[in-house]
Subunit: 357 residues, 2 copies
Amino acid sequence: MPSPAHRFLILADGQFDPLTSKTANSCIRYFPERIVAVLDRTQAGKTVAEVLGYGGTIPVVGDFAAGMRSGAGATAVLVGIAPPGGQLPAEWRGWLRQAIEAGLELWSGLHTFIGDDFELGSLARARGVRIFDARRPPPDLPVADGRAAEVGALVVLAVGSDCNVGKMTAQLQLRDALRARGHRVSFAATGQTGIFIEGWGIAVDAVVADFIAGAAEQLVMRAAVDHDIVLVEGQGSLVHPGYSGVTLGLLHGSCPGAMLLCHQPSREWIGDYHGREPWLRIPPLADLVELYERAAAPVRPSRVIGISLNTFDLTETAAREAVARAQEETGLPATDPVRFDPLPLVSAIEDAAAQAA
Amino acid sequence: MPSPAHRFLILADGQFDPLTSKTANSCIRYFPERIVAVLDRTQAGKTVAEVLGYGGTIPVVGDFAAGMRSGAGATAVLVGIAPPGGQLPAEWRGWLRQAIEAGLELWSGLHTFIGDDFELGSLARARGVRIFDARRPPPDLPVADGRAAEVGALVVLAVGSDCNVGKMTAQLQLRDALRARGHRVSFAATGQTGIFIEGWGIAVDAVVADFIAGAAEQLVMRAAVDHDIVLVEGQGSLVHPGYSGVTLGLLHGSCPGAMLLCHQPSREWIGDYHGREPWLRIPPLADLVELYERAAAPVRPSRVIGISLNTFDLTETAAREAVARAQEETGLPATDPVRFDPLPLVSAIEDAAAQAA
């Protein structure tokens, strides 16, 4: 487990913007007070708010050493983007070496573990500096056997029409709203960004395939202790040709008592295919509801209880229309829990919890 | 890639029987001429046929060194079972050391790679002996993007009601029958035993979860070269709480033009839960057909074209009744391609290939 309360310099060089630097942006949204600076040489001199529309006066810097000294001084470096091409660029390597030599912890959610890098791993061990590779799976994961269905808490899984439609953000907004109403609610992080925010979790997309559901089961069992509601971060989509296996493993392993369907209304095609023209149309919401309920049923029957929309790229009028349309198409409560009142989804979860109890 | 033509000593100590030693048994079924002996101290002195009902006079031995000298002498040791508890027992370690010291290649399909074992890996490198860990994923797997749908060959995926119902065996029987009728057909191995038999493949249950479908896609692209029909080994089941993620990833990554549903008629409950009472009933065959077709549809629509039954534990009368019942319940051709004529499924594949061409 990582140390609990760092002050972070976020590495987002060349990619800091509202769409690309997803990990950086979510960390800024959920713990801005712990971020001293963002490194992006192409945007140096701006504030984070000037780039993202939130995040206040956190500075964007162009010099790594200056970034480490920003504010009260960084105690850790958080890798907020994936390097283009997958390999660590030589410059990153230099920065990370600099950070380790200064005694800063490294937080990374990359598929390639920085702790396993010969040079950086050895240096960190020699200096006694911790490298937190958030995607590294825990040892000895079980094969799932459906026991997550037996926890006392109501387990709510976020499912989606596609990747990157706001499943994690929806759950975090609902967690806060449910907590404010006095519920004992936990957030089970299943991806690197969720793990950074929550401090623990398992990146289910990084475990060996046989153990996807086992990882989800272990997460839910732990998150349910002393809580009445467990909100599980979703991953991918059952209709995503690359990631659907992770999605179904997470669904069958977490055995949710209820599901929330997340969608970005402006999106018509399955995304995330940078090398190829889009070719898979996202099915209508009502079809997606049916698909998820049918997929869940053989292991544990579960219903979709609400629709969470991500309308950040729509005008307010268009966003309100999208919410009304989603409700009409599915007969389910809908809202954008970031932009509008999360109450329709909060109430749906409260009702499901009351029925389950 | 492993060397092509070894003579194997199979390690199956304490577990050599028709049900438990699945890897050993399949290797014996498909290349008996390359097996010099099976090590199982509890059955020493018997022939393989006395234990399995096939495999002829291959001896079961109780002494490892004697096993290595059997017949024309072993050139490789094949690990045919999983060790109880997952760790290499001390005795196995001694045997494998002995094998390496004698210059024998090691073939293993365990989740834990023998090549990464400090002692055995170092010894093998020092002696120039190859360790073939069949489950080790290839580097640089892609995220799937549906391009397996574009190959010229008809891709047929075996899907199942559960794990271990005969998906691999069905495809191998059909491969042989289709070859005998002059088709250019390849078998795409997706598990360790299939890889042992075919000599290449990717164990899709052992890749990092994000790359299940990518691994399946890469396999199909390669298996389709110079072939008109690709038979893809199936894995798990969409209704298996532990392994469904692998199954869906394989389905969406391989983009089959047709599916074969495999089932063991004597099985009523999802198995493979040794630590727990069975609690999930296998759905009716017609429901499974619909479930697989609905799951495939969003990425690439595909139909189940036949039912392959594994009736090894039924009387002949009961087996013929099971075949007739499967046909009646689904309206699809059915057979047990090991026990009876595979023609109903062969014809179904030929028809699908003719329609696709």
